[in-house]
Each structure stands twice: as structure tokens, then as C-alpha cells.
Assembly symmetry: C2
Homo-oligomer: 385 residues x 2
DNA sequence: GACCTTTGTTCGCTCATCGGCGAAACCGGG
DNA sequence: CCCGGTTTCGCCGATGAGCGAACAAAGGTC
């Protein structure tokens, strides 16, 4: 069942979201009596979730005591596992970054090695910030492949050999662990940080591959098998010759992904191997690279145009390695989307570059963890315990 | 705020969904005391929402009194407005059809004429079934164009001249009116009637135009501007010569819609004007028509393949005029989807013809009305009043 | 300094909910 | 046919959560 209205969890949600900073605000918003609110707040302070700061501004009467999340004593981790790197961010309850680190690490080394590394890094970051391991409440993790979110088990991930069906949460005993696809957590992070008002948002990651995180009604849409957002293998017209690693041809990823652009550039006489090489060439002013990036944008835009008609988002965020040269990429994308999508859907549509940058996935994963811990259900459990 | 757990609304939801048929069931499911449940049930009986039938089967002790929705005394209407027809269905609270009617009616005649017609038909159906007008609790309506759902106003509908921004609900005073796109209500009806277990479902309507209703997490996804699901103008590869009424070319609708197939058939020497003509030709065994329908299926399948990767539904339902020859249409669709979509997404995917047929939109609209009336919030309001 | 405004707490009161008890209803065994 | 076992359901006293009034605290205003 849904939690009761005005429960401690709801009260905390209002404080955490910044909708209410005083007891009076809470009474007004929830409709509960001031005395009841005081009880709730006392309970939340009791168990360390809320703290009182000094008096706020008077509006003519007694100045209200300000309330906010009690960030000390709780820590959350966001983990970004990429094909070749591991980024760990330690966050407080309000989403602020306490410490972070990144290391090269091959996800292909398998779960024991990689999760051991994460564990060690977590300990180090906790020590750096002077917190005991017990302060760590929840871990969010983004991984480069499909995951069954409910159980935290990767589902036949193509670039994570040895991880299939591995129960990641069991590796971190005594701590809630939420595992999701990396693009999903990036979408979540971007929506919560940069576009809290947007209920429907797409996050498109253009790196070696191309993926999409979907926020619908303010929540992540994962689909029936958790594979939603896999747009890298949607067909684009006029490129039947481009073979893809998935076995089909004319996949978006095979013509507009970082690796594909690099390969074409090589064919044209400018050696490049990865998306990063392409970015470097564009930044150095190579016009051929620039032209190809813009063309890649058009191809991505062709697919997005269809998805805009289908999904009708308010915001599309473009991220990933290639987005470092987003002026040119975005130009191609916008050109095609605004030409090929319906006016009603594009009229209020924003297409923007990612604002969270390299930390996007780790931050989003941390937010996943924090929101889980601060969900009304969980808070009610904590308070009554 | 969310309604309290175990509120009258929740209790009614459990009874309505068939999850609980006795007081004991309710106590077990809600966790409330048996005495509390009795109070709730009494209140619901008091205001005519629930009725007690005679004793059920004993399981060794006293046989429980069965509970079910009290369908008498409440009526709901589902209205399906098409470009050239108007279908009205009168339903009881459990979704059963009490009476129905259909008339040819041009939506282009404008809101006053059309809604006046609807009003008159409603009165007639109510009289037929011996119910007073006051028994009508809510009206659901599906219209052939985009609608702002919250206000029930059409939003620049291309084939509904005179309806732009017209406040449809105001025409039916004293009765809740919910207006949505016709494809959305068809999707809802199909999901609730035929696939209650499917949380993510697409309903694709292939008629003159092509549209798609989206059910995500069991609820309709309407998108930011209420234009989600407009897949008729997604580009398909290799048909740059096909101009579309929207001004672009190579739109799905312009190559695979009923009108487009008919036009091609005409070009090939077999005169046809509408999708219905095409259906008739296929049913008569015309192999050219059959081939074109199958080809249309492939084109729809190409678009759906991308949407399957993006959205990852459990079920895709194919409806609309052309689906009367669904064997051939589905063959083309499945062929392409299973070839072009990712295995993870297609493994548990069903692609099936519509089961509700010609009544789909009206039934779905009625369900929209019933679910609104039986929503926990509304029921709590009714009970306390 | 008197008075007003706003905030926060204390303290009875009320009412919803709980849980136990007994009645009702049905089954099966002696 | 009677009687204990079992399950359902209404009644009723006990309980506790939430409410609102009254009061205390803290600041502004004239």
C-alpha cells in the first residue's frame, strides 16, 4: 500500500526537496496540525535525519527555526563502472560531493576483481572524509550493460564478460545496493540536477556506442526486460552498407558512434581510432572531422526525431564522449529533429548538452542511492525502528 | 498527498480488481483489523458502491459473505468519435456493456452539433436500459486528434475543424468528462481487457493514418504536450518519393497507411480508395493487395523495431481498419521486428491483433471514465460526503 | 514599554483503530 | 441428532495518534 499522507517519510521528502524549511511550512503543505508536525520533526531529528539550524528571518513575529537534512553521519556512494574505468563518488544526503576518485579499470576483469576494487576505494574515500564504514547507507551503481534492476544482476551484458547474472548487491553486505544501466543513471542525474521541472526527459549518450536513458513522469523507464533505451541499433536510412557488431546493418551506432566516425575519418586519410581522437581533431580545427561530427549529429537526429514524435519529451540532453564537441553535434541533431518532428512536439522541446559532464553517471548513481534511502517507505521504517 | 493505506478507496480498489471478495480477504490484504474492514465495507455499501451477495463456499467454517461492486444505479459512458462516425457505449461499473449504438457523423460538423448528438444518444441509451440521467457518473471520450487531457480541450487537431481549444467537458454539466486521443483510449482498453498483466504495452492503430497508444507502468503515457504516440510521421528508409500531408516525405503513414496502400493499388491497376477497399480486396483473394498489405506490415515493423528497442514493451497490439486482415499485416510486422530488434527486447515480446475490435475505442473511453470514478481519491470523497 | 504577529510546545479531548469475546453459520464425526 | 472444530462477523472496551486550544517564546512596531 501507499504510505499514509503526512507520515514521517512525506515530511522528510518535503524538507529534502526544499519545499518546506520550517515547521509552519510543513503544517501548511501537509494540512496537519502544528503540534503533529512537531512530533514528526522531533522523531526525524531523533534518528538523525533532520537538523535544526539557527533562526530564520522574522516576517513580523517570532522567527522560525530552519530545518534541513542532517547530512553528517550519513554517506552515500555513486559508482560509475565503464568499460575501462571506475569512478567512485562519495556524497552526502543532499547530493553534495564529499570526495571522488577515478582509476583505469577493465570491467572485463570480472566481478570479484572490480567489486573488490570498488570496495577498497569506498573505504579510502570514507577514511579521507573521516567517516566510518557504518555511515555508508546505500550504494548506487551504473554499469555498461543491461541489468535486472530488481535483483541487481547484469543480463547478458555484451561488454562485461563474466558478469552475467552475477548478484552484485550481495558483494556489499549490510548496505542497500542499487544497480542500473549507466545511461539510466546519467539520465536520472541530469534530470534531478539540471531539469527538476521536466517530467519527461531523454538522455542520449554518444560514445563508442549510443544509448538513451528515459525519464517518464519523473521516474526512470526501464521497460519490460530492463533493456529500454537501447537506441544504438535502430536503423537509419541510406546506410545499408554499414555493418554493425550486432549482426545487422545500418544501425545508428554503426554510422554515428564514436568508433564509426573515427573509422570513416581514417578512410578519408586522417587516422583516428576512438571517439576521443575525433574530439581532439575537431578541437584542433580539422574540418573533415567537424563535418563528420555534424553528419553524425544529423543521423542521431533522424532517430531522435522519431522518438520525439513517439515519446514527446520536454528535454533531450546530449552526453557522452562526442558531446565534448557538442556545438557541432547539436547543430546536426537540432537541424534534423526540428525538420522531421511534429510542431506540437518540438514547440516546447529543448535539446541541450549535458551539464554534469564527466561525473554524470556517478552522480546519477548516487542520487539513485539517496532517493532509495529517503523514500517515504524506507524513512517510515527507519523512524519506527 | 497520497491517500491513506486501507482507506475506503483502497478497499474498493481491491474489491473492484477482484483481488478480494470477502471481508477476510480484505483484512489479510490490507493488514487492517477485521472490525475496521467491516466499518469500511459498511460505508461503501451505505453509499451504494458495494453490494453483498449470498454466502460463498465454506472452507470448513462459516461461509463468507461475498462482496462485489454494486453495479446497479451507476452508469458510465464511453464515446468514440471518429472522423465519420460516433459510437456510444453505456457501461456498468464493472466494465460490462449495457447498451451501445453507432451512427455516421462527421466530426467536422463541429462541437455543438456532434456533442449535441452524443448527448441525445446518451439519453436514449439510458432510457433503453431504464436508468435516469442522474445515474450517469462519468463520461470518457476518444477523439481523433491531440488533446490537452487535463482540460479536455483539443490541441490544433488537423481533422477536427472548429474544435481547437473547445472545452468539451463544459458541454456535459454535472458529470465528470475525460477526453483523450482515440488511440490512447484504445491502448487502455486493450491493456485492461486483454493484458492486465502487461505493464508496458503499445497499441498501434493502422487506418487511414497510423498512431500509437502507450501504456507505461500500467498507465497511459501522454508526453509533455499530450502528443506522444504520433508515430505516423516517423521516417522510413527508401521511400523519399512518398510525400505526406504533413509536408515531409517518407512518413510511415504516407507509405503504409490505408490511404497510401489504396493509392498504390490504384497505380497498379486495381482501383481502391480507402483502407476498407484494400481489406475487401485482400479478403477477396487479390494477391496484389495481399502483397502490398504485407509490405505495409514490413514498413510498420521497421518503425516498431526501433520503438521496441527504445521502449521495451511486453505486448504490441495491432488494431485499426487494416488489422482486419491481420494475418498478413502481422506477418510483415513480426518478420521485421524480430529481425531488427535486440534479442533481449524481443524474447518475451508478443505481437498480437486487437481483441476488442470495433468497440476498442469506446470501451477504452468507458474504462477511463470508470477508473476515474473508482480512483481512491474520488471514492474517499464520495464516502465522506 | 505596550501590543501585535508568528512560532513552537504542552496538554486534555476526540475519534479511529485494535483486538478480544461471543454469536452465527457450516462441517464432520460419533 | 448432537457436539466440538472452524471460520466469519458484529460488539465493545482499551489504546493511541492526531487535533486544537491555550500558553510560552521571540521578535517587530509604534
Amino acid at each position: 500500500m501507499t504510505p499514509a499522507p503526512g507520515s514521517p517519510g512525506d515530511v522528510l521528502t518535503l524538507i529534502g526537496a526544499g519545499s518546506a524549511t520550517t515547521r509552519s511550512d510543513l503544517a501548511r503543505l501537509t494540512g496537519l496540525a502544528r503540534s503533529t508536525i512537531s512530533q514528526r520533526v522531533d522523531a526525524l531529528i531523533e534518528c538523525g535525519l533532520v537538523e535544526e539550524t539557527e533562526n530564520g528571518e522574522s516576517t513580523g513575529g517570532r522567527p522560525p527555526r530552519q530545518l534541513r537534512l542532517h547530512t553528517d553521519g550519513h554517506a552515500f556512494a555513486g559508482v560509475d563502472l565503464g568499460a575501462t574505468h571506475c569512478r567512485v563518488v562519495l556524497m552526502d544526503m543532499s547530493g553534495g560531493v564529499l570526495a571522488e576518485c577515478e582509476d583505469p579499470l577493465l570491467v572485463a576483469e570480472g566481478p570479484e576483481v572490480v567489486l573488490g576494487h570498488v570496495d577498497e576505494r569506498l573505504d579510502r574515500l570514507l577514511a579521507e572524509t573521516g567517516r566510518p564504514r557504518a555511515a555508508l547507507r546505500a550504494i548506487g551503481m551504473g554499469v555498461p550493460g543491461p541489468v535486472e534492476f530488481a535483483t541487481g544482476r547484469p543480463n547478458n551484458p555484451p561488454i562485461m564478460p563474466g558478469w552475467n547474472d552475477y548478484p552484485i548487491p550481495e558483494h556489499f553486505a549490510g548496505c542497500a545496493v542499487l544497480v542500473d544501466n549507466d545511461v539510466n543513471v546519467m539520465a536520472l542525474g541530469e534530470q534531478r540536477n539540471a531539469f527538476p521541472g521536466a517530467r519527461h526527459l531523454l538522455f542520449v549518450k554518444i560514445g563508442t556506442g549510443i544509448g538513451c536513458g528515459i525519464v517518464a513522469e519523473g521516474r526512470l523507464h526501464r521497460g519490460a526486460q530492463g533493456s529500454a533505451g537501447d537506441i544504438g541499433h535502430i536503423r537509419v536510412s541510406g546506410h545499408e552498407d554499414a555493418g554493425c557488431r550486432c549482426g545487422n546493418s545500418a544501425c545508428l551506432e554503426a554510422v554515428a558512434g564514436g568508433a564509426a566516425v573515427a573509422r570513416r575519418l581514417t578512410e578519408l586519410g586522417t587516422p583516428a581510432e576512438t571517439g576521443a581522437d575525433v574530439v581532439a581533431l575537431v578541437q584542433a580545427g580539422n574540418t573533415q572531422a567537424l563535418r563528420l561530427v555534424r553528419e553524425a549529429g544529423r543521423l542521431v537526429g533522424e532517430v531522435l526525431a522519431g522518438l520525439v514524435n513517439f515519446f514527446n519529451p520536454e528535454v533531450i540532453v546530449i552526453g557522452g564522449a562526442l558531446s565534448r564537441v557538442h556545438e557541432h553535434l547539436l547543430a546536426g541533431i537540432k537541424e534534423t529533429v526540428y525538420r522531421r518532428s511534429l510542431p506540437l512536439a518540438t514547440h516546447h522541446l529543448s535539446i541541450v548538452p549535458s551539464r554534469t559532464g564527466v561525473n554524470a553517471a556517478a552522480l546519477g548513481a548516487g542520487i539513485l542511492a539517496i532517493e532509495h534511502y529517503l523514500s517515504p517507505d524506507n524513512v517510515n521504517r527507519l523512524v519506527t525502528a
